[in-house]
């Protein structure tokens, strides 16, 4: 059932130790900063985090990593100029990394939401990121077998929600939000505005409310 927590801390209160948590955003666009801060505050640990990157600077996901709360990162691009907390943990052998080409990351998340048990893709074929994976030739091309990435929780950011949990996003802040919402058992969304049901044109809804569990308005 859809609920509307009072604040981000209430929204994330149910996240358990050992959960797999998808976090939306690409760069700062679409990052649910307030929900990530609340995840930090709530104390959940031994997390597997799915995000395109592995934290930047001294905030958000980077801080979760610094505090040792993340046991594994599944991402496409962990190395950035300011990803020093991930770098340190990685070199200390204190965090596991599953590196996934960005398109495989997106498609694997999509597959989880769509009930696909696995798929073949040319991306990564013949590279070290396909080592140990099943391959076959399909349509005349070498392809690699990839499996869905499911999650217990998704933390995403949208622009607006209505009373049914339908979501619209803004520009390139849309990125991973819609597919993570579908892939997670429990999807928590921070929005700038909650409008009455019927306040969003049915033609422009990007994420239908069926994929959404909790909506919290963030100032």
């Amino acid at each position: 059932m859809l609920n509307f927590p009072e604040n981000v801390n209430e929204a994330v209160a149910g996240i358990q130790d050992g959960s797999t948590v998808m976090i939306g955003g690409f760069g700062n666009a679409g990052q649910p900063f307030e929900l990530i801060d609340a995840l930090m505050d709530c104390g959940a640990k031994d997390l597997t985090v799915v995000n395109n990157n592995a934290g930047q600077g001294d905030q958000g996901l980077a801080l979760l990593i610094k505090e040792g709360r993340v046991k594994k990162m599944i991402c496409s691009f962990p190395r950035q100029s300011d990803s020093w907390h991930f770098d340190a943990k990685y070199h200390a052998g204190e965090i596991e990394l599953e590196l996934v080409p960005q398109g495989n990351l997106a498609e694997r998340i999509r597959a989880a939401g769509a009930g696909i048990g696995g798929f073949f893709t040319p991306t990564g074929y013949g590279t070290m990121l396909a080592e140990g994976k099943e391959t076959r030739i399909l349509d005349g091309r070498g392809q690699v077998f990839e499996t869905p990435i499911h999650a217990d929780v998704a933390l995403i950011k949208a622009l607006k929600a209505d009373g049914k949990g339908n979501l619209v996003y803004r520009k390139t802040a849309r990125n991973f939000g819609p597919i993570m919402a579908a892939a997670a058992k429990h999807t928590i969304v921070q929005v700038s505005e909650i409008v009455p049901t019927g306040g969003l044109d049915p033609e422009i809804i990007v994420t239908p409310g069926i994929y959404v569990n909790s909506i919290v308005k963030v100032a």
């Binding site: 769509a114 049901t197 049915p202 239908p208 409310g209």
Partner: protein, 234 residues
Amino acid sequence: MSVQSNDQAALAAGIRKSDKPLGRNDLARLVARDIKPGSFVNLGIGQPTLVSNYLQPEQNITLHTENGMLGMGPEATGDQIDGDLINAGKIPVTELPGASYFHHADSFAIMRGGHLDICVLGAFQVSATGDLANWHTGAPDAIPAVGGAMDLATGAKDVFVMMTLLTREGVSKLVETCTYPLTGIGCVTRVYTDKAVFLTGPGGVQVRETFGCTLEELQDMVPVPLTAAPAVGG
């Protein structure tokens, strides 16, 4: 087991009873009542569509139609009829506040990804372990047509079947093993019939309520072992 002892067991289990078989509309009302508030539901073509007539606004049920919509409203009438707004049975329908549209792959991703709480389907046969046969009679000259039946059967969290318990020839459609071609394996969780409501699953077939017959009379009609469901059904 005597009729009496069986009925005592049913009574002890709190099994509900009514004194006559249920008509299609009464059955639809019963299914509607059993759908948990806030559910996302797909109603199959035919008899299951009747269920929508009995859903109450306070249940806050959202109907899905596989041709690309959530938040489907009642059948359209008069000026409401819009050729671009139809359900999976190709009947003009209406749109409720909070509806959304999406393309066919996104629509079936909702079904196949396990996001629907319940789908309600008709059936030719249901097996004791919840196998469903509802798409093909298997007749050699029949043109096969499956539509979205296999996706619904396989994808929804709960699959409710609505059917008459017996064929016109008096043969049980609840069977040990389906003889018609299968739609899905072990997918049906409840069977609503004119004579009883059955819960199917790994634990065998349980009877939740009977309509115009005793559990023993029911057992005589059905070739699979029946037990009374525990009191907390619903």
